[in-house]
């Protein structure tokens, strides 16, 4: 199928939007986070059993009882770390999904064939975090620097050709 240049650009944007949207579905599964929470639950249950074991062997086996108490203390630390990790991972997922949503929306707008343009300010209006704005500013600075450099080089080439 053949497209003119503008329709081709629109199609590329539409396809990229679909590809990125597909990627978002894979990010937001939350499977790793859920596994961390399940691990935390299982550890908690096991810890309860170890506490019970320590009570029962308190008089008959002092060493085992002491080991049980050590294991329970270690479990509390590990469970706390797991929960922090799960929460941090959930927040990272959320941030990634919001960034991806922004890219999908922007590409979706560029894919429309009604001649609508997406300015840098329009793009910035889609952001939902300071990190996105920082990336935008850094990319803009880089773009301006490259554009200036290319302009200087083109000017030199044109000068030497004359």
């Amino acid at each position: 199928m053949q497209f003119d240049a503008e329709a081709g650009d629109n199609l590329v944007c539409a396809v990229l939007a679909a590809q990125v949207a597909e990627l978002r579905g894979r990010i937001d599964t939350g499977a790793a986070v859920e596994l961390l929470w399940q691990t935390s639950d299982v550890l908690s249950q096991l810890s309860g059993l170890v506490v019970e074991l320590a009570k029962r062997c308190h008089k008959s086996d002092g060493d085992l009882s002491a080991q049980c108490n050590t294991a329970v203390a270690a479990e509390i630390d590990i469970r706390r770390s797991l929960e922090s990790l799960a929460f941090a991972q959930a927040q990272r997922n959320d941030f990634t999904c919001q960034t991806v949503d922004c890219v999908v929306t922007a590409l979706g707008r560029l894919a429309t064939s009604d001649g609508a343009r997406l300015s840098p300010d329009d793009l910035a209006a889609l952001y939902v975090s300071e990190e996105q704005r920082q990336v935008h500013d850094a990319a803009t600075r880089q773009f301006v620097a490259v554009t200036r450099r290319n302009g200087v080089e083109r000017h030199k080439r044109e000068g030497s050709a004359e």
Binding site: V33, E34, S84, F87, N93, D94, V128
Partner: protein, 123 residues
């Protein structure tokens, strides 16, 4: 047991927040956007604290806070904003709408629980 209403459009975030709050001894109700949150409040839910994201579909966090402040049952309920947004403009909007506190993601479970304890009405 104090009830917390959690609003976030990320299922993973809702799951994690629910676990943290339940493990800390709170009852948790959840909603995936402001509209759903308002429906729960209209249905008779009386949370001790509301925890809401800002960027959500259908009704965002700021619109939700404005609506919640109009309702007699939640006019004075503490509302904590938990969001990826750290910009001053959104923060000012949320404060003007009636938000009580603001936490920027990523945050730690302890930071969240401390903010909750500070805002919960003392018995």
């Amino acid at each position: 047991m104090p009830a917390i209403l959690v609003l976030d459009d990320s299922a993973t975030m809702v799951m994690s927040l629910s676990r943290i709050l339940k493990n800390a001894g709170y009852e948790v109700e959840t909603a995936s956007n402001g509209k759903e949150g308002m429906a729960k409040l209209a249905g008779g839910l009386k949370p001790s604290v509301i925890l809401t994201d800002i960027n959500m579909p259908q009704m965002d966090g700021i619109a939700f806070i404005k609506e919640a402040r109009k309702a007699a049952s939640t006019r004075f309920t503490p509302i904590i904003v938990l969001t990826t947004e750290s910009g001053g403009q959104k923060r000012d909007e949320a404060r003007a709408a009636g938000a009580s506190a603001w936490l920027t993601k990523p945050t730690e479970p302890n930071e969240l629980l401390t903010a909750l304890k500070q805002l919960l009405p003392s018995k």
